[in-house]
Structures are given as C-alpha cells and as structure tokens.
Symmetry: C2
Subunit: 284 residues, 2 copies
C-alpha cells in the first residue's frame, strides 16, 4: 500500500453514522452551476463520485443501485415502451433500462450536464448506452420536464436523484408526483430511490403519503444492499395508480431474457418483495 | 445535538472502507486476559461494543446478525435439540436459539468471560435468556471444547466469532472443522459467520475449502444486511456432512411457530437462499 493513501469520511447527520474510503488521489473536480462534483480514486472501490461532499457512486458497488432502480419496475410493467429517468445523470440507470429490448424510448433528464460529463470521463462503462438510438439525454429541470410531459405518454418514471435537500428537493412532494401521475399511462409505474429502511423509514412513509396525495394508491418498497450509502442498506419504492394494483412481475421473462446483471435476478426480485418483519410493521 | 458528540471511525484495511458512528461518550472499558473491550454510547445506534477497536455490535442493528446466525440453521435442521455456540459471548445468538421450543440444550462457549459481563451490563436485552434452564454458559477455549465434545452428540454448531485474526484465528481451519464434524450427528449443521460477499468473497471460498477438507460436502451461504460490519452486507455459511445435502427448511414451522423476530422470516430465508448472480459466479 502506498504511503500516500488517506481516508475520506462522510458523516451522515440523519443516521448518526459515517462511511469512509481509502483514497489514493483526487482525480477531478468541477463546480457546476448547481453543485460541486468531485472524483476520487480509491484503493479498493475504483473511482468515487461525490456531489457536494455526498457519496453518489463507486465503480465497485453502483450495480446494486442501478439494477434495482430499473429491472424490478421494468419487469413489473407488462410491456414498458416509454421510460423517463429524472436525475440519473451518471447514466447507469439508463444503461440498465436499455438492456430491455422492448423499450422504445428512454429519456434521461438531469438538471446538471456536468454530472454526465464527469461520468463519461470517469465511469465510461456506465455511459456505454448513451448513444443508443432509443436514448435521449436532456439537461434540464426534471420538475418542469414532468409537468410539461404529454398526459398518458409514459410507462415508467424512474426518479434517480440525490437526497431530498438541495437541487433534488422538488422531487419528493405532491406537486411533482401529480405531474408523474398525469404523464403515466393507466398501468404506469413510478419508482424512486427511498433511502435506508433501517434508519430513514419515516422518509419512506412521508414519500408514500405524498405519492398518495397525488393519486397513487398502491406501493411496494424493495430493500437492497448499497454499501456506499448510509447504513449500507437502501431501498426503492414503486407506486401504481389503482388500488390493490398488482406488483407481481414477469418472472418468466426475468429468468429467460438473458439480461446480464450482477445483483438483479428473478429470485432476488422475489426475495425483495417481502419486507423484513420490522420494516413491514413500520410501514403498517 | 450536544456539542460534545464526536465521530468514531473504524478503518477496515482488507476492504479499503470505513464505518463511523456519532458518539456521545465512552461508557465502559476493560482489558481482559484476551482483548480490550470498549462500550460507547451513540446518538442513533444505542450502545456500541468494540473489541480491540473492531465493531462487534450495536443496540440498533445486532438483530440482523443474531437472527441470521441462528434461525436459518435451526429451521433447516429437522429437529434440532442440542446446540453449541462457539464464541457468541454477547449472548444474542443464544437468545435467538432458545426461542425454539424444541431445543433441549444450548451450550455457549466463549473464551472471554468479560464479553458476557459487558453484555449483561450494557446489552441486557441480549442476555434475557441466560438463565433459561436449557442454557449453559462456559468460558473456555472453543477449539478445545469442540475437540473434546462427545462424537455424534450435537445437532447444530454455530461459530459466532470475531474475524479470523487474534483469539478467533483457530476457528477458521480444517482442524477445528474436523472437531465440529465429529461432534455433529449425521444430519447436523455447522454454521459460521462468513464476512462480506462483496469484498471478502475469497474468505468465503477458503472457509468452504477448509470445511471441505474436514469432510463437509454441502454448503449454503446466506447474505444479509449488517450495517455495522464492513460494506454493510454480511453472510453466514452453513455446511452439512453429506453430498447434495438438502438445505430446504421447515418453512411451515418458520411461518407458524410465532417466533418474535425483526429481520428473519420464512420469506427472508427463502430470499436469501438464492445468491445474487455475481456471488453465485464467484463461488462457482
């Protein structure tokens, strides 16, 4: 081990815990119009991207998050053709979405072009589908994009954003969810990253309540490991329009479509569908 | 938040990552014959126990580990009556084991009595079954205990130890596993904590190889969240004597026995049985 390594720690105030990495050097840094983006090289986790000091992704472990933000929703929908990703500027979710051959259009709308430029440079593997003819990369306000979306035109909205502070604050309230509701077709699915089911369960409850005010009536939260986020255990929450909506998924397709994945599988999806008792109790 | 809080970080050299907690004060400290045991009070995780600077458990999240170290093995065995816990001095695994009414004897053999004394003082909820008439607490060398165990007398051996350095080093090799093999009945199960499937998969492979040299022929590794351990994602590995041994479990009992658990359930158990693709590939 080089004597020049040092440890970079990120303290998470809401959870009272911290995660750190052994760093070899800072590779890049840019102050965009919206936020400060830093890239570090680590000894064991590949490259790290931090936004305003908060860990966004590492080369080593981003697959958990990107696969779970996309494949469960896409296999739950009967035939997803039109997908919108709000945020997701690192392009990792877009790459997973485009693994589904039935998808005809995938719009990624991130407010900050610099996130994508940094991803192209330091996480090129996540950007390998950016030139897929079905992909459209917009750098614009996701709240405005959803508001102006044609009604009943979208099958899946994936909200792949930072935490509900700063630029992403507007992506966690009734007004934004109403736009999503209007843009989604009747059988559409909204899916959003929903923080740690261990320490931030109140946020999941608030998110579901806001989605409910916007008209969504059925919810499913799926936990998954995510080592670089607080507590190392994260979740996404899916919402559908109708009461008692079905969250069973196209299990046969998930087994036979031959998607190359590292964490997601039909069995992992099934396993994530039943919450641990303490989470089920907390969500009522 | 009191201005007197500070952050305590633990750097994990083998994974190049760190975990930290916001601490209010040190509650206790003892240098035993074997190791240094420290107790901290935290803002969000209850009390913390560190051994030689390594995080052992927190009030908030120890249930993941203790439930997954016990219930999967006990429900996989047809009728476990005699259980031995090697290590486990905090008594949390013992408590879970004794939730099974069919268990007749549960021996806990930890080399360091001070771990149990500190647990009784600072984690009393984990020690609530210590006076169960079926429980026997020994403070002795686990390697010697297993070596002297009567052949074919044990249904389940749970190795609930620290990492394979220091006092626990002897619990990760062929010689120790041979003692376990001899002590276990033909349908017995050995289960051991097997570190992070993300960053320490080589250790799982080595552990299985050593168990194999001792005669065990069938293995199953179950991942689970464990926020206070490196990467926040941990595992246990079960071993059985016969080739192609069955790891299906008494699912009906797991659903109807009414065990009060926070993480474990029949569905969680089923979900953990299928490894994520990247782990399955790594374990061949």
């Amino acid at each position: 081990m080089s004597s020049e390594t040092n440890w970079h720690y990120e303290n998470f105030d809401p959870t009272g815990s911290a995660i750190g990495y052994r760093i070899t050097r800072k590779l890049d840094e840019v102050q965009s119009e919206f936020q400060k983006i830093e890239i570090f090289e680590s000894t064991d986790w590949g490259n790290l991207m931090l936004i305003d000091g908060a860990m966004m992704l590492t080369t080593k472990d981003n697959f958990f998050y990107h696969e779970m933000m996309s494949h469960p929703a896409l296999f739950t929908h009967d035939a997803p053709k039109n997908v919108v990703i709000i945020g997701g500027g690192d392009c990792g979710t877009l790459r997973e979405v485009l693994k589904h051959p039935g998808v005809e259009t995938a719009v990624q709308c991130d407010i900050d072009e610099q996130v994508t430029r940094m991803a192209e440079k330091w996480f090129p593997e996540l950007c390998e589908s950016n030139h897929d003819p079905r992909a459209q990369l917009l750098f614009d306000d996701g709240v405005a994009y959803m508001k102006n979306c044609a009604p009943n035109s979208v099958d899946i909205v994936i909200v792949d954003s930072t935490d509900p502070v700063g630029p992403a604050e507007g992506l966690f309230n009734k007004s934004f969810y109403e736009s999503c509701f209007a843009a989604l077709r009747e059988d559409g699915i909204l899916v959003q990253q929903s923080e740690s089911p261990l320490m931030l369960i109140e946020l999941i409850k608030e998110m579901r309540a806001e989605m409910g005010k916007a008209g969504f009536q059925s919810f499913q939260t799926l936990p998954f490991p995510q080592p670089c986020y607080p507590t190392g255990w994260w979740s996404c929450t899916m919402a559908r329009k109708s009461a008692g909506a079905n969250f069973s998924f196209r299990e046969r397709d998930a087994r036979t479509d031959g998607l190359k994945t590292d964490y997601y599988s039909a069995d992992i999806h099934r396993g994530a569908q039943t919450l641990p008792p303490f989470v089920a109790r907390a969500l009522g």
